[in-house]
């Protein structure tokens, strides 16, 4: 596949270089580690630090979400690979303002090990760390094994709510509690239409027939639960929403936020057509959409397809979702 890059070996370095040069009053690289980026703004003493991270290739996830009301720092891995403990630790030290740091990341073997190691090292340096793993993807394990599910686009809601809580002055325990509550009330499911390819291999991440889709696809191109003939958007949206609602039943009158997330090469037009159906289903059930997000929030390079995420809201989560944010790739008034 064609890419506008230089040497595949240095894509992450060059992206980071461009990124910090494009947004110098938002973000900077720590001198200690070139994969450790923190907000360029001064954060309050006593504020809980919010650390996010994961593999590259998911932009705006994760580096795009460092800024006011969101994360204070990000550890950046290679494409689709967890960052090692070193940049996580450096970010931790830089953003700890005496109140501890919460790590927000997706439930992947690599991330669990690397963030876990970093947390141990941080604790050894006297920094309190709480870890909250996103595992919103209903397609990735049955309900009884929810702890094995991977985190996909729903992590946005975890970042958003925890970021707001930290900015509002909540303590570490409460920021972590809110992040966990957000995660526990969030479900996602995706569909893949076309693969992406790693710059280093140029090979498609999966194979699908010209008329096929992959239901439940992971956002690194991991196979989903089944291949099927590509259906009309309404039918696909129906299947995704049904799987979510089966996993997390919602009652009439309950309020949610909906995220239709593009995986990279799916036009907004198609995302809004998907949203349209999701809204219709929820409306018919008497469920109220409190806020909507439609766009590319956590991508997989140039993968085609999307995911639908629903988060069930209470008053506290609504406050956190409404809170303003100002990041290079995400601004909310």
């Amino acid at each position: 596949m064609k890419k506008l890059i230089n040497d595949p070996t240095y894509v992450v370095e060059e992206m980071l270089d461009g990124y910090v040069k494009a947004h110098p009053n938002y973000i900077k690289v720590l001198p200690e580690n070139d994969r450790a980026l923190v907000t360029a703004r001064t954060t309050r003493e006593g504020k809980v630090g919010v650390l996010i991270g994961g593999g590259s290739g998911h932009e705006p996830g994760f580096l795009g979400y460092v800024g006011d009301g969101m994360a204070d720092g990000v550890a950046v891995g290679n494409i689709f690979a967890s960052p090692p403990p070193a940049p996580i630790l450096e970010v931790t030290k830089a953003i700890d303002k005496g109140a501890g740091v919460v790590y927000l990341y997706g439930n992947y073997a690599g991330d669990v090990m690397n963030f876990g190691m970093a947390a141990e090292l941080a604790e050894m340096e006297g920094i309190n760390v709480e870890m909250v793993l996103g595992n919103d993807d209903v397609a990735s394990a049955p309900k009884e094994e929810k702890h094995r599910r991977r985190g996909i686009a729903g992590e946005l809601f975890v970042f958003k709510t925890a970021g707001a809580a930290a900015d509002l002055g909540y303590n570490l325990e409460d920021v972590a509690r809110i992040a966990r509550k957000a995660n526990e009330n969030t479900r996602s499911m995706g569909v893949g239409l076309t693969p992406c390819s790693l710059p280093q291999t140029g090979k498609p991440s999966f194979e699908l027939g010209e008329d096929e889709m992959e239901i439940g696809l992971g956002h690194h191109g991991e196979p989903g639960i089944r291949k099927a003939k590509l259906q009309k958007a309404d039918i696909v949206a129906d299947e995704l929403v049904a799987a979510i609602l089966e996993d997390m039943p919602l009652n009439e009158g309950e309020e949610v936020a909906v995220l239709v997330n593009g995986l990279g090469s799916t036009p907004r037009m198609e995302l809004y057509i998907m949203f349209r159906k999701a809204e219709q289903i929820l409306r018919e059930k008497g469920i109220k959409i409190y806020r909507s997000y439609v766009g590319d929030y956590i991508t997989s390079l140039e993968m085609g397809g999307c995911s639908i995420t629903i988060i069930k809201l209470d008053g506290e989560l609504k406050t956190m979702l409404d809170y303003p944010a100002d990041c290079p790739m995400f601004v909310q008034k």
Binding site: P84, G110, S140, R150, Q200, S205
Partner: protein, 213 residues
């Protein structure tokens, strides 16, 4: 047999070469089971290691230091799942041969046992989960069993590699229980685990290396 620090370094360089050759194959396996990057990740890691071997470690005489530096270099270059796994392996292996400038048969047995136990401790996977442990665990057992019996490291390691290969191949028929591919369920059957495959390359490269000494 005795392996000098310089020879130890040569071995690791040969792993880097081997991984570079097998990179595409490893990605191919991971595309079917996971996110398709295993070859790339191993390559990034071992190229970083190779760089270290040619520079900072070029004249290093402490085999323990060589191994632990490799572990940290690999980890910092890749993160990922294999970063912490192999880093822990090489750190533990390094501890087992700390401050030795030459490695005896006994040292080598201890190195590999500590290495494999390190990987196991970090990942908490069991044989049968369809991971690199399916390669490493049988090798560990064979090595322990044969090291004393045969009194000859090369023979014992030869047995270990035979078992490792058997273990690697057994992953073809396994349903993945851990890591990225575990969400595939039955769809994971029929493909050899990439991590089990690269782990086999690391062991078999060592056998080739000691045979050619």
């Amino acid at each position: 047999m005795k392996i000098t620090a310089a020879e130890f370094i040569e071995y690791f360089k040969s792993v880097a070469e081997m991984i570079e050759r097998e990179k595409d194959y490893l990605c191919e396996l991971d595309r079917k089971l996971g996110d398709g990057d295993h070859g790339v990740t191993m390559s990034i890691g071992w190229q970083a290691v190779n760089q270290k071997l040619n520079n900072e470690l070029a004249d290093e005489k402490d085999c323990g230091k060589i191994s632990s530096t490799i572990g940290m270099t690999f980890l910092n270059a890749v993160g990922s799942s294999v970063g912490p796994l192999y880093a822990t392996g090489f750190l533990r292996g390094g501890k087992a041969v700390a401050q030795k400038s030459e490695l005896t048969d006994q040292d080598l047995v201890e190195f590999w046992i500590a290495f494999i136990n390190g990987v196991k401790d970090r990942g908490q996977a069991k044989a049968g989960d369809k991971t690199m442990i399916d390669t490493l665990e049988p090798a560990l057992i064979a090595l322990q069993d044969n090291a004393e019996a045969s009194q000859n490291f090369t023979n014992a390691f030869n047995e270990a590699v035979i078992e490792a290969e058997r273990g690697m191949k057994s992953t073809i028929e396994l349903v993945s229980k851990i890591g990225r591919s575990s969400r595939l369920g039955d769809r994971s059957i029929g493909v050899q685990d990439p991590g089990a495959t690269s782990a086999y390359f690391i062991l078999s490269a060592f056998l080739k290396f000691v045979k050619e000494l």
